[in-house]
């Protein structure tokens, strides 16, 4: 497949011309620059930010894994992110399905409304949720946190799922229905399996958004439900701990592992882009 693209590139789609490629590389460099500073820093052995570190050690990783509540908040972040992923996938995929397949008056308007949380500055959402959840007694609960993150992440899932659904032939669903399958069975056996790449991409996005989110979490969480980004943020009220560098490095490695193994697994699905 890779070869085809190159072959036909003599005339058709040129592989990126050199100028474009070079400017892209420069920008990639810009994007990873901070990481290039952060990763070495994470191997420092002092309690202050040092670059370059004077000597290398796993001191900061030790702190992360064994001291304070870093691990607990990480686990909390995972919990929230996983639940958020689940919920936003549920809401997002069904909503996208309704929007793409459905035909109802004001569809465009409804779509815009469903996507609107992306378009409202997050601090506004955070404040609103905080006031609202406090009256409901949801403030500080993991559930409240998940709800907040779901509002935030679902629009992204909708967008991805809408794109994915447009690639799923509606005739396949019609065929299944005609052969006697109920709506639910059709969704389970036909639509969802075909949406697999989309679902994977959507969950990855939802997970990352929730895992990384600080503003909403800062307002909505409390002591027991504090997430990693919130802890990272509150850890710097007075001092800044280089443990943060170690955490960033760990996250980078984690995402590399996920993506690389994802690509490796994706072998057969090359056409599904």
């Amino acid at each position: 497949m890779a070869q085809n693209v190159r072959e036909s590139s003599v005339g058709g789609r040129p592989g990126a011309p050199l100028a474009a490629a070079v400017s892209a590389w420069v920008i990639y460099l810009f994007l990873i620059m901070p990481s290039l500073v952060v990763i070495p820093m994470s191997f420092g052995d002092k309690d202050e930010f040092m670059f370059p570190p004077e000597s290398l050690s796993f001191y900061l990783y030790g702190q992360y894994f064994f001291e304070s509540t870093w691990m607990a908040t990480t686990l909390q972040s995972f919990e929230v992110a996983i639940l958020t992923t689940f919920l936003s996938l549920l809401f997002g995929v069904t909503a996208a399905y309704g929007v793409v397949r459905g035909n109802f008056p004001g569809k465009r308007f409804v779509t815009l409304f469903l996507l609107s949380p992306i378009l409202v500055p997050v601090i506004v959402v955070a404040l609103g949720l905080y006031l609202y959840f406090s009256t409901l007694g949801l403030s500080g609960t993991t559930f409240g946190l998940v709800l907040g993150h779901t509002v935030h992440a679902t629009p992204f899932v909708i967008v991805i799922a809408m794109a994915g659904l447009r690639h799923v032939d509606p005739n396949l669903e019609a065929a299944a229905r005609l052969m006697g399958a109920s709506h639910v069975l059709t969704l389970r056996k036909v639509t969802l399996p075909l949406l697999k790449p989309t679902l994977i991409a959507g969950s990855l996005f939802a997970f990352l958004i929730s895992f990384d989110e600080v503003v909403i979490a800062y307002f909505v969480s409390n002591t027991t439900t504090e997430t990693l980004p919130v802890k990272m943020y509150s850890a710097i009220q007075w001092e800044i701990s280089p443990v943060l560098a170690a955490i960033s490095t760990l996250l980078i490695v984690l995402s590399l592992v996920i993506c690389v193994s994802g690509t490796a697994l994706q072998k057969d699905d090359e056409k599904g882009e």
Binding site: D169, N171, L172, A174, A175, A176, R177, L178, M179, G180, A181, S182, L185, K189, V190, P193, L194, K196
Partner: protein, 385 residues
């Protein structure tokens, strides 16, 4: 066999396989299907023919239950199924692009409707094997649809459709995506399957040749209305409108005015003074009509040659084109209209060279009179790409 819509009462259609009782479908202000009355016989191979956008798919979807009629009711086997969901109608459908599930093997694809029906695994295996035999692809069960050729995929789509014994199969241009050669092969196979299984088939196509080849009966749609319906030969030989005449087969059409009635109708027309035509109810003296002659009914004569045919016009040879089995000759009449003559291709009998003086002749039997309105719309049948 021809069912006249409207004029008949209706209730007697209840015992038909399918009956659309004054069904219409509007999309907002678009009338996809005007009020239509249609009854389908058990075991019949019925083709819906018409230009793009004429409402063929809409009609099929109404029967399948994919869309709800704006008005009217749908009956299958005497039961009103207008509000029954598609999954409960027991209908099979073969889609234009086959709609095989790309994530399932061929076996799983065919087994799908059986699993939906909670059939036992052994039974499923047996039935799938059976239909794979019927479509003559016994060994492809383990493959994915993408590993099959277009024709093979089509057969799997049919197998999947017949495996659960639906008594009606709907097919929406199942051959539309194939090339001519393969298309013709599969037409034959489809037709054989139909005979063999005795199922009722509703078949959609916009290819007139395909419709003529395969159907017991053709329903010709135009702008959401039924233009004419009947067996292929009836539509071909007795088109009731200009549209029907032009849509099925090639035709030469002249403007004319009815000049006399008798055993044959005589029509006064521009290019050749007077022509004799088959009698028709619409013929009234002085009425403007269209006169239709099929190219294959025209005979090309050298200037001097004699023929016993009633109508004859002198002309000049313009061009001739081999289309394979037939040759099309274009001749120009005295008033500059071009007429097409179709002859069988014979190596040793080349048509006269361009420029030569010829005559075209045809019998009064082969001359039809049609109402002057209702031809094909300009550029009709063209969808924006």
């Amino acid at each position: 066999m021809v069912l006249e819509p409207r004029t008949e009462g209706g209730s007697e259609h209840r015992d038909r396989k399918v009956w659309l009782e004054s069904c219409a479908k509007h999309y907002g202000s678009v009338v996809a299907l005007a009020e239509v009355e249609l009854a389908v016989e058990d075991g019949e191979f019925l083709t819906l023919l018409g230009p793009s956008g004429s409402g063929k798919t809409t009609l099929l979807n109404l029967i399948a239950g994919m869309v709800q009629p704006t008005s009217g009711r749908i009956w299958i086997d005497g039961a009103d199924i207008t509000r029954v969901p598609p999954s409960k109608r027991g209908i099979g459908m073969v889609f234009q692009n086959y709609a095989l599930m790309p994530h399932m093997t061929v076996f799983e694809n065919i087994a799908f409707p059986l699993r939906v029906r909670k059939m036992a695994e052994a039974e499923i295996r047996r039935k799938v094997g059976e239909v794979l035999d019927i479509v003559r692809l016994p060994d492809v069960g383990k493959r994915k649809p993408s590993e099959l050729s277009g024709g093979q995929q089509q057969r799997i789509a049919i197998a999947r459709c017949i495996v659960y014994n639906p008594s009606i199969i709907l097919m929406d241009e199942p051959l539309g995506a194939l090339d001519k050669k393969l298309r013709e092969e599969l037409q034959l196979e489809l037709k054989q399957l139909h005979t063999q299984l005795g199922i009722t088939v509703l078949y959609v196509t916009h290819d007139q040749e395909e419709a003529l080849t395969m159907s017991d009966r053709i329903v010709l749609l135009n702008h959401g209305k039924i233009e004419q319906m009947g067996p292929p030969d009836e539509l071909y030989f007795q088109p009731r409108t200009l549209f029907a005449a032009e849509f099925l087969g090639d035709s030469n059409i002249f403007d004319g005015t009815v000049a006399g009635l008798g055993e044959f109708v005589s029509v006064y027309s521009e290019p050749g003074a007077s022509m004799m035509a088959r009698p028709a109810p619409i013929a009234e003296i002085g009425k403007a009509v269209k006169v239709l002659v099929r190219p294959e009914n025209l005979t090309l004569l050298r200037q001097c040659e004699e023929s016993g045919l009633a109508n004859r016009l002198s002309a000049e040879m313009v061009d001739s084109i081999i289309l394979g089995g037939v040759i099309k000759c274009y001749v120009r009449l005295s008033d500059d209209t071009t007429v097409v003559v179709q002859e069988l291709t014979k190596a040793e009998r080349a048509p006269p060279p361009p420029g030569s003086k010829v005559s075209v002749a045809w019998s009064a039997e082969d001359t039809l009179i049609l109402p002057a309105v209702g031809g094909m719309t300009e550029g009709g049948g063209t969808a924006a790409a």
